[in-house]
Point group: C2
Chain length 445, copies 2
């Protein structure tokens, strides 16, 4: 079984509450919205991602016979309730911002409208899916902004938090503008372009470094990118130069080299000189090792002659901010708006829409958040995507999502295109929403 699709990918309290709803005959429509409460330090914007996996999960939602049997065996649930679970499917509506859309705190990116049991049950997995891909797309977008014309490849599978994190990080970073990934299964599952060369172990397994290079070139004549830092980086670059004419005679061209340790800027400059002087001006230089958006900015600002970057751990774990302060909250039940007022965790009630306004140059100027049925100036960002449990349109192509993301990035306000964090984008909560919150508080007081 693929656990990614299991209806048991939920917290026990969801089932406890479902039994409570079932017991009390509460089956009215609930509205939940997913949003981010506030940005992590150093971040200025977010990029929505993960919707596609959410819709797949909802379309397929059901308990398998094995799961039902196991649930019964726990003794925690009564028979009537289990009978209801057996036939539970997702029959609700979903509204969302398209994947690749830039968004900001307090702006919902997903709304679920469904009988309360369905909308409640899926909370844990919906947050799990939207949180992670949004986290990674937002981090990757920062790297794309720092190195807009460079080859950027996700190298992070090994230190991603599990298999799914590796696969979805490849997807989210590709949406944000990465060129591709090293993760083979992500190539097969999502059609993401694959990149890869060799590891140190390949060089180490040979008794001689040049022999390793030669051997690799003959086995991969179309993809001769050689890793040159196993022992001594510049010495290895000279070995590549010495080897190149021999390979040329066999019709094989050295496409590039990779450096994975030490001072990358310094090594890149020296290696570039060695390659150029040795007639390998066409060979590209690829760098990896502990890279993130700050390292990219500094490397490129220093003029380091690097053509492409492999970025692993710090992308796939979003290492400086490995989580978002996000929530999936009940905003309405049985036609009445609802609101949580817990200290520091208040939310805006009701079904909402986000309107985006642009300046004369076409850059984002400010967003308005209001109740769903109020029309504000600007572009409405939240659109219906699922009705009665069925998608309203086929899944968009990943390339189209990526183009949408790229278009969004070109419209970012200038200050958000750098890594400064002093700029706060203007998100206006409309008077209608303030008024609704006031009325809800009065009713709940």
């Amino acid at each position: 079984m693929n656990p990614a699709n299991s209806a048991l990918l939920t917290d026990l309290y969801q089932l406890a509450m479902l039994q409570g709803y079932d017991h009390g005959g509460m089956e009215e429509t609930a509205v939940f919205e997913f949003f981010v409460r506030r940005l992590r330090p150093g971040r200025g914007f977010l990029m929505a991602a993960g919707l596609e996996q959410v819709l797949e999960f909802l379309e397929d939602l059901h308990f398998t016979p094995e799961e039902m049997q196991w649930l019964a065996s726990t003794g925690c649930f009564d028979k009537d309730f289990l009978t209801h679970l057996e036939t539970l499917r997702f029959t609700g509506d979903v509204h969302a911002m398209p994947e690749g859309t830039i968004f900001f705190p307090n702006e919902p990116i997903l709304r679920v409208t469904a009988p309360i049991a369905q909308a409640q049950l899926v909370e844990s997995r919906l947050i799990n899916l939207l949180h992670f891909q949004t986290l990674i797309a937002s981090k990757a977008a920062r790297m794309v902004l720092m190195a807009p014309d460079k080859l950027l490849v996700d190298f992070g599978l090994r230190r991603a938090h599990g298999a799914e994190a590796g696969l979805l990080a490849a997807r989210a970073s590709y949406i944000a503008g990465f060129t591709g990934t090293a993760t083979v299964l992500a190539g097969m599952q999502f059609g993401i372009p694959l990149f890869g060369t060799m590891a140190h172990s390949f060089v180490q397994a040979h008794d001689d470094e040049t022999l390793a290079f030669e051997h690799f070139a003959h086995a991969q004549p179309d993809n001769v990118v050689l890793l040159i830092d196993t022992y001594d980086t510049e010495a290895a670059a000279r070995k590549v130069v010495a080897l190149a004419p021999r390979l040329e005679r066999d019709g094989i061209r050295v496409k590039g080299v990779r450096i994975d340790s030490g001072n990358l800027a310094e090594h890149a400059r020296r290696v570039r000189q060695i390659l150029d002087a040795g007639g390998l001006g066409h060979a590209t230089l690829f760098a990896s090792s502990d890279l993130d958006e700050y390292a990219l900015r500094d490397l490129l600002a220093s003029g380091a002659p690097v053509d492409g970057f492999g970025i692993g751990t710090r992308l796939d774990t979003s290492s400086d901010a490995p989580y978002l302060d996000c929530a999936y909250k009940l905003q309405e039940y049985a036609g009445k708006a609802r609101r949580k007022r817990s200290e520091g965790k208040q939310s805006w009630p009701g079904r909402k829409q986000v309107y985006r306004n642009y300046d004369a140059e076409g850059r984002m100027a400010w967003d308005g958040v209001t109740v769903e049925d109020e029309l504000l100036p600007g572009e409405a960002l939240i659109q219906p995507v699922m009705h009665d449990g069925r998608r309203l349109a086929p899944a968009p192509r990943l390339e189209d999502i990526r183009s949408h993301a790229a278009a969004n990035l070109t419209r970012l306000p200038e200050p958000l295109c750098s890594l400064q964090d002093w700029y706060e984008y203007r998100v206006e909560i409309a008077p209608a929403l303030h008024e609704l919150a006031r009325r809800v508080d009065l009713a709940q007081a």
Copy 2:
């Protein structure tokens, strides 16, 4: 298909190298070891976890017909090589420290001895599995040390990085001493005890907070733990006190309350007073919201009357240190020891053993790391677990792994039991290993 078992859960360069090995007829035995290079700031020790999933992956290693078809369709691989991939299985040996064992930098916790293609192919997934569970077990162990007699429950699924991270974080934290998890599927898959109460949405969905409590109590009479911070924490505690006698008449007892926001210590003290004064002295107090080992230490040091904790994001993402500086490196090929010398990333060559020595009180005193065939004083930590691709013993029970971890924690040196980071445990690299490194460097020079 469950992607967790896919042989394509690897980096493209592994397949490129495999084609290189294949092309050159390199099929001799390789030895790779997994180890952590250095501790992250603030950390004093690590706890090994993830071996069980590694062994499952190796036992099942194969390419499916669909995967073979897709690989062929990429045009990156030649026919002979693909034919060899088709029949590839893991036929090697594995040596490892048992899960739950405390370890330190430069100590291998896993050794793979296999034909080089097999040992190389699995690198990405083996790191992915060992890295994550070790990361989480090590983080969870710190929380267990800070709150040894408290109920500790993993609440992290929603902000874990994907489904597998949620499931394996539940497993790793349970190994380290957590009491259980909220993740239902982890209960089904691993038999981990499940805990869960209610969310704010349950309270919000009712027009009246007391009604929500009453309703929940009747639906879950054996597990009446009520969430009291949706609107006003102390007011809700008084509602619980007022409700309790009515519930008692129906034979239902309030088991506890949960607080999820605000100043937890202050709320806990006030709520405890309200409950005690209201005849609910038996009801336990459960706290959650942004907790980690530092918050646990401070809360308990302040005397906050909290009986249990739900710990989510900061556990499941290991938020202050979301990755380990770990590697899986070639240490020997075709009978010759090997070593990488990249700047800042040197490794010790050859097959190794770790010997642990204890002081008079039975606490860990120092470890010795040496070549496999040298005997040092102390307990040998690395044991054979798989031979010719088959396990040497059935998988240990999770409870036994957890007991082993608990026993290890009681033997930690005193300074490592607090959250101070000035103490560095003594790991001695034996002269025999220094000598081997010297010889390898000479041969590779």
